[in-house]
């Protein structure tokens, strides 16, 4: 078990290093450069190259890479070229906002998908099962920006129940969280259903049932734990999407999250900000998945035995 944990830790460090290196290269391959974006269309060539020098962008690539890596290791990410403030501050604020949104979405998704999935599995091949599978497919098949705008038009414009956009009050969280949750509901419902079905066919469950345990006990004691493995795994992976990919929902609802910050930073070629934002997203992703891996120790007895 100790070896398992150590291996996972080494993987995590490797993935972080890889992601950092890829970011470093990718932003520099992009056409356009931070200096001319900062100076705008009116700048002369001399002004641009002077600014490039001040920003250290005229150094050789290996030199820039070594500087970047040594600063990253010291958690020194510098100042945003475009916002003119320490990138850690900006990224921290935004990650918090996105985390609030993502968490609300996950809670909503779990609250909907578990009952639906279990219901569908217990009534396999019944009309209920088919209805659930169509509902979950619809959740996955609607482009989120279209859904978000429709929710605004219905709940804010027509019914006037909820605010349209912004992040000022708790009510502002509802529509974006639902928009973000819906595709997740689709994935999770299907997972819960098939996970439960699979487990129900396993010998030990049959044995448990044969022994006369009630369905409820079988479900909670035995099936649930096995079902959680795929759900936890997929949630771990989906969280990456939720953090970096919430940009669309954040834009539609004017939510001050990390996705929008990242896209703006890329658009402005703000290297330090892009680097730090992606490093943070990646780190959170890696940490969550590390936790997921470690949770298998609890969820899957086979690992404990290794």
């Amino acid at each position: 078990m100790g070896a398992y944990i150590l291996q996972r830790l080494i993987y995590a460090v490797f993935v972080l290093w890889g992601a950092l290196t890829v970011i470093f290269l990718v932003v520099r391959i992009l056409p356009g450069d931070p200096a001319s974006m900062m100076l705008g269309a009116g700048a002369t060539e001399a002004e641009v190259s002077e600014l490039q020098h001040n920003l250290g962008l005229d150094e050789s690539m290996p030199h820039q890479y070594v500087t970047f890596m040594s600063e990253a290791v010291r958690l020194d990410f510098g100042e945003s070229l475009w916002l003119r403030r320490p990138v850690v501050e900006s990224v921290g604020e935004r990650i918090a906002a996105t985390a609030r949104l993502a968490l609300a979405a996950v809670v909503i998704a779990l609250a909907i998908s578990f009952p639906l999935g279990i219901l569908a599995a217990l009534r396999q091949r019944s009309p209920i099962d088919y209805a659930v599978s169509v509902i979950s497919l619809i959740g996955q098949s609607v482009p989120s920006f279209w859904l978000g705008i429709m929710l605004i038009l219905i709940f804010a414009r027509q019914l006037r129940w909820l605010p349209s956009a912004g992040s000022q009050t708790p009510q502002h969280l509802i529509l974006p969280a639902i928009t973000l949750a819906l595709p997740l509901v689709g994935v999770l419902t299907r997972l819960v259903r098939s996970g439960l079905l699979e487990v129900m066919h396993e010998d030990y469950i049959r044995t448990a049932r044969a022994k006369g345990l009630s369905s409820r006990t079988v479900l909670t004691r035995h099936a649930m734990r096995n079902m959680l493995i795929p759900v936890v795994t997929v949630l771990g992976i989906q969280l990456g999407n939720l953090l970096g990919g919430a940009v669309i929902v954040e834009t539609v609802f004017g939510w001050p999250g990390i996705g929008r910050l990242l896209v703006d930073a890329i658009t402005k070629r703000d290297y330090p900000l892009v680097q730090a934002a992606i490093l943070f997203i990646t780190t959170i992703f890696v940490l969550i998945n590390l936790l997921v891996d470690l949770s298998y120790i609890y969820l899957d007895p086979r690992i404990r035995l290794r």
Binding site: I23, V26, I138, Q140, F145, V234, I248
Partner: protein
Amino acid sequence: MSSFAAATEDQPDFIPVESDELGTRLRGHSRKQEIRLFLWGLPIVIFVLLAVFGPILVPYDSVTVRTGDRLKPPGSILRDGSRAWLGTDQVGRDMLAQVLQGARISLLVGAATVVIAGLIGMALGTISGFRGGFLDSLLMRLADIQLAFPSILFAIMIAAVIGPSVFNVIVTLAITRWVVFSRIARAATLSTKEKEFVTAARAAGATGQRQLLRHIVPSITAPLIVIATVEVGLVIIAEASLSFLGLGTPSSQPSWGQTIAQGRDYLNNAWWISTIPGIALCLVVISVGVFGDRLRDYLDPRMNKG
């Protein structure tokens, strides 16, 4: 990260089975089961036919605009006496022609992306699972980096470097989608590798390559086909998201996603621009999803028992 539970990622409800080759799986079904599967696939066939022949019957003219006929609702008679069955868009182009052309682009993007991502993923996943050891670790960490990395950055990079085109959209999506296939392929390879007939072949002195080609590749094809079916739908949705961010197909070749995204500002006065391709997209994704489910049941003997 969670490589041991790899098969549970994204489309985790595929259950590895005892029967090994695609041929074996396809055989052993009654005529009735085959017809039923075909019926489930019928909606997809209809969409493909529409995509192939629709633009021939109702040609789409990407150049000519008729601003005097803009934003006409479905069924309107235009200035030249023709009827716009699905209305017109914001520059007066016929929506019917645009939706049919969009079917072609969207399905092309979906299919081509899945083929490319599938082939790359299958190759890397199979090699990874078959060789094991350092190569395996390296490839799977690469997959982790890819998963942890916000795909939006790649999308912007490719759009910025080579400009918007259908081809670039396919490349972008393929880069972000190969991981799913590689993980499934790897997991399937691992389980097949230990099967008796492969072990037997190895003992009989078959070279690595022959083993791969003869036994493993055919046996992992079935799960990959199921995943591929579902992925087509997800890719079409992902393309719509790129369009929202302005990174989709060019105006001259509008995908459904592109039309939905461009029409979203008109949802409160010309709902048809965004909604009609939206419904089409939704239907395709649901058809593909339902067919994927049936295909899995069909290929998986255990499910048939249940």
